[in-house]
């Protein structure tokens, strides 16, 4: 019995989450109507928490690309690339991703989580040092931990703290990996990549940037925060996902280092995972093409983001430090945030609830992700719903 007793803790967490009526981790989308609308408990619901930044999940060209791939290549690859071989499309997407980031090498993984595990466990080994932003995504933590390297965290976006740690590493600094994200997914703030790059160069370290939430969103060509901050060519490894702006599922790494090609031989998460199905690769390729050719998607996304951020602010809500397509509203205690999130859902607004220890500090947040596919009316409806619940604060 002892082996299973540990689930009592999970049961207690679940019971607490269900106190407000609905479990925020188990919302059922009975029907998906569009990138921004679904049916939840029979109710028409605006989706304001699905990271569908460019709204490409229902894009006709992406759907058609996926449909054609299923018809011509089948529903799946039935195994890993090492065992079953690669489909030509996998390699084509890798070339396109490398070209997109203006580097020579690209590698595709079956999930974003797998990409971070796969790259970090290949790049790092016991005895190596990695400097990790404290607010980094769980996949980055897990990848670092699985590698067995020495993990030193630095306070979120604190360049001085990073510099101090590089200094303390002494000779090891020239051989360490700095790991950050582009856009941080809870608070919607960006890494100060220019300053981080300056430190990386000063100490001779390598830099990995996870652009999962910033791909397609930041930069003139949608290449992410590194592009937006003018340091695209200084990043050693870009990682990211196909499950947000690209509207599908999967992950990638792109790099100017030729050793990325050798990661295929040593990365267990890559070697032992079935490769992405043809429809996923095909729709991702089309979505990547759209990021490159339809800058108007980003313009609409940012217009919606600015309106939501300003709307919350003018209603007196405490929002994140900068305008971005991730807008987090600070609600303080969990006891306030949980009913607030529940009432929002009952009003037909789906958002994300973040409570400690999953939030980046001791406060609870309701997080919205904006989409280019949100209409002006939907953005206003989200603001209105929040505003109508102010008495719960």
């Amino acid at each position: 019995m002892a082996l299973l007793d540990k689930f009592e803790t999970a049961a207690a967490i679940r019971d607490q989450l269900q106190l407000g009526g609905h479990d925020p981790t188990q919302v059922m989308m009975e029907q998906i109507i569009s990138p921004t609308e679904g049916i939840v408990e029979g109710r028409h619901t605006i989706l304001a928490g699905t990271n569908n930044y460019l709204g490409l999940t229902f894009d006709p060209a992406c759907i058609e690309a996926g449909r054609q791939a299923i018809e011509t290549q089948g529903t799946g690859t039935t195994g890993s690339r090492m065992a079953n071989g690669s489909f030509a499309q996998h390699a084509a997407l890798e070339r396109e991703l490398a070209d997109f980031f203006d580097v020579d090498y690209g590698m595709v993984f079956s999930t974003g989580y797998g990409a971070n595990l796969g790259i970090l466990t290949a790049l790092l080994k016991p005895g190596d040092a990695v400097l990790l932003d404290a607010d980094a995504h769980a996949s980055l933590y897990d990848g670092c931990q699985m590698s067995g390297a020495d993990i030193f965290r630095f306070r979120h976006n604190d360049v001085d703290a990073l510099g101090k740690r590089l200094q303390r590493l002494g000779e090891r600094a020239g051989d360490c990996l700095i790991v950050t994200e582009g856009l941080y997914s809870v608070m919607g703030d960006c890494a100060p990549l220019q300053e981080i790059v300056a430190l990386k160069k000063e100490f001779g370290a390598l830099l990995l940037v996870d652009e999962a939430h910033s791909l397609g969103v930041y930069g003139d060509q949608g290449r992410g925060v590194a592009e937006a901050q003018g340091v695209l060519h200084e990043v050693d490894f870009f990682v990211g996902t196909f499950s947000k702006s690209l509207g599908a599922m999967g992950g990638f790494c792109a790099s100017r280092h030729r050793q990325l090609e050798l990661v295929r031989y040593v990365s267990r998460p890559f070697i032992f995972t079935a490769s992405s199905s043809p429809s996923i690769i095909a729709s991702t390729r089309e979505a990547l093409r759209q990021i490159r050719t339809r800058p108007e998607l980003r313009e609409t996304l940012w217009r919606n983001a600015r309106r939501l951020y300003a709307g919350f602010k003018s209603e007196g809500f405490e929002v994140g430090p900068e305008i971005s397509p991730v807008v987090a509203v600070r609600l303080g205690a969990k006891e306030v945030a949980l009913p607030f999130w529940n009432r929002l859902l009952e009003k037909g607004i789906y958002t994300n609830l973040m409570v400690p220890p999953a939030s980046p500090d001791q406060h609870s947040y309701i997080r919205c992700s904006v989409s280019a596919a949100h209409s002006e009316q939907q953005v206003e409806a989200i603001i209105e719903a929040f505003s109508s619940l102010r008495e719960l604060l």
């Binding site: 404290a134 020495d150 740690r165 939030s359 001791q362």
Partner: protein, 93 residues
């Protein structure tokens, strides 16, 4: 138990009390009970985020770096004092 270790325990205890205060921890009023045997998780119900936050406080205070993987057997204030003492002494030759 040497003097240096006792001093470190006391200092870490004070830092823990100060962390509980700054984070408005619900068990703040029990800070007087902190001693070497105090377990951060079971006595003061620090969650994983708070433990990591507190580790960063220790890094700043003692000007050391704490490898996340090195803390798996570190549970009490006395364990932390031993760890800090080793770090301050530098790597074994």
């Amino acid at each position: 138990m040497n003097t240096r270790h006792d001093e470190l325990e006391t200092k870490i205890g004070k830092l823990l009390a100060s962390y509980l205060e700054s984070s408005n921890h619900p068990e703040l009023e029990r800070h007087g009970e902190i001693n070497g045997a105090t377990n951060l998780v079971s006595d003061f119900t620090l969650d994983s985020f708070q433990v990591m936050e507190f580790m960063m406080e220790l890094e700043e205070s003692f000007d050391i770096m704490i490898d996340m993987n090195s803390l798996s057997n570190t549970h009490t204030v006395a364990d932390l004092a031993r760890f800090v003492q080793q770090e301050l002494a530098g790597p074994a030759e």
